[in-house]
């Protein structure tokens, strides 16, 4: 079993369901990658690198996006 900390909360994945890349994770979560910025263990990952950025159990991921604001 794998564990990822996503936006401050731990989420568990079965061994065969563990996402391999950030793009995989977004697809599992049903989040549109076009509107998201990702930070992996504090490091910003460019959107065009989502598909090539591997993730592994124990890592911390922040997924943020724009919301209305002043």
């Amino acid at each position: 079993m794998g564990v990822l900390k996503i936006n401050g909360k731990e989420k568990q994945f079965a061994e065969d369901k563990m996402p391999a890349t950030i793009a995989d994770l977004l697809s599992i979560l049903g989040v549109d990658s076009a509107t998201v910025v990702a930070e992996l263990d504090g490091k910003i990952i460019e959107r065009n690198k989502f598909g090539q950025t591997p993730i592994c159990s124990g890592q911390s991921i922040e997924l943020v996006r724009f919301v209305p604001g002043g």
Partner: protein, 265 residues
């Protein structure tokens, strides 16, 4: 109206509009359109992975990327929610990764009750972000000394508040803003607290280069109409500033001739 120039980029509108607090994405989009603005602010927050609701976002995305008119709106991410310089810098970097543009409305507001900006942390964050080639538009209290310090470190504007964010109380800091305008070598954008078009006009009349309005438009009974009235007020205020205000006197000064009255002396 003469053009507003921030960091070398020209804008026809001197009204910046925030996208928060609208009742729906469609009202927000219509109000933005009616305001004539070219700069809209957005915030950055964690994705709610348990509750997908992208309506407002999709509307902003559509606004900022109209196929025929891609440059119509400049998306200006803010660092709202940041309580320290480090948090603001982190948000600014994330926003740049998201938009590919390096403009940021820097706000550091540790106190949630008045949302007054922290001057020390704001200056610290501004220095870091300018060095990283950000175009920094800092939200500050109406402090002339801080304004100079910020322009000295290379911010693109200063954005003093008229009164606390969302309070709609108007230009309570007028005297300090007049000093800021007098000393500024960068555009002065009055941000926060402007509740009525007359407040915006007043800021423009005293020489502010632009104003930023959100709550007063978004929470009006008819936000679209209110957006239009702010547009007109900003235009009127700017034109009045360029026209040069007539002087004030304590006593009356007749507008009609004081001779030829229909009475005998």
């Amino acid at each position: 109206m003469d053009k507003l120039i921030i960091a070398g980029r020209e804008f026809n509108s001197r009204l910046l509009v925030g996208t928060g607090k609208f009742s729906s994405s469609s009202v927000m989009a219509q109000a933005v359109e009616a305001s004539g603005t070219e700069i809209i602010t957005v915030a950055l927050r964690r994705v709610d992975i348990t509750n997908e609701n992208d309506d407002m976002l999709a509307a902003i995305a559509r606004l900022s990327a109209k196929p025929r008119d891609r440059t119509k709106y400049l998306l200006l991410p803010n660092t709202s929610g940041a309580r320290t310089a480090d948090e603001a810098v982190r948000l600014a970097r994330l926003a740049r990764a998201a938009t590919g543009i390096n403009w940021v409305k820097l706000e550091v507001t540790p106190d949630p009750y008045y949302l007054l900006p922290d001057p020390v942390e704001t200056l610290k964050a501004a220095e870091i972000l300018v060095k990283e080639d950000f175009v920094v538009l800092p939200y500050i209290n109406a402090d002339p000394v801080l304004s100079r310090r910020l322009q000295d470190v290379g911010t693109a504007t200063v954005m003093p508040l008229g009164s606390p964010i969302g309070s709609n109380r108007g230009l309570k800091t007028r005297a300090a803003i007049e000093i800021i305008i007098e000393q500024a070598s960068v555009p002065v954008v009055v941000d926060a607290g402007l509740g009525l078009p007359s407040h915006a006009a007043e800021a423009m009349e005293i020489g502010a280069d632009a104003v930023l309005v959100n709550t007063a438009i978004a929470t009006a009974t008819d936000p679209v109409k209110m957006a239009e009235s702010f547009k007109l007020a900003v235009q009127a205020g700017r034109t009045a500033f360029l026209a040069g205000a007539a002087g004030k006197t304590k006593h009356a000064s007749a507008s009609s001739p004081l001779t030829g009255f229909l009475r005998d002396q």
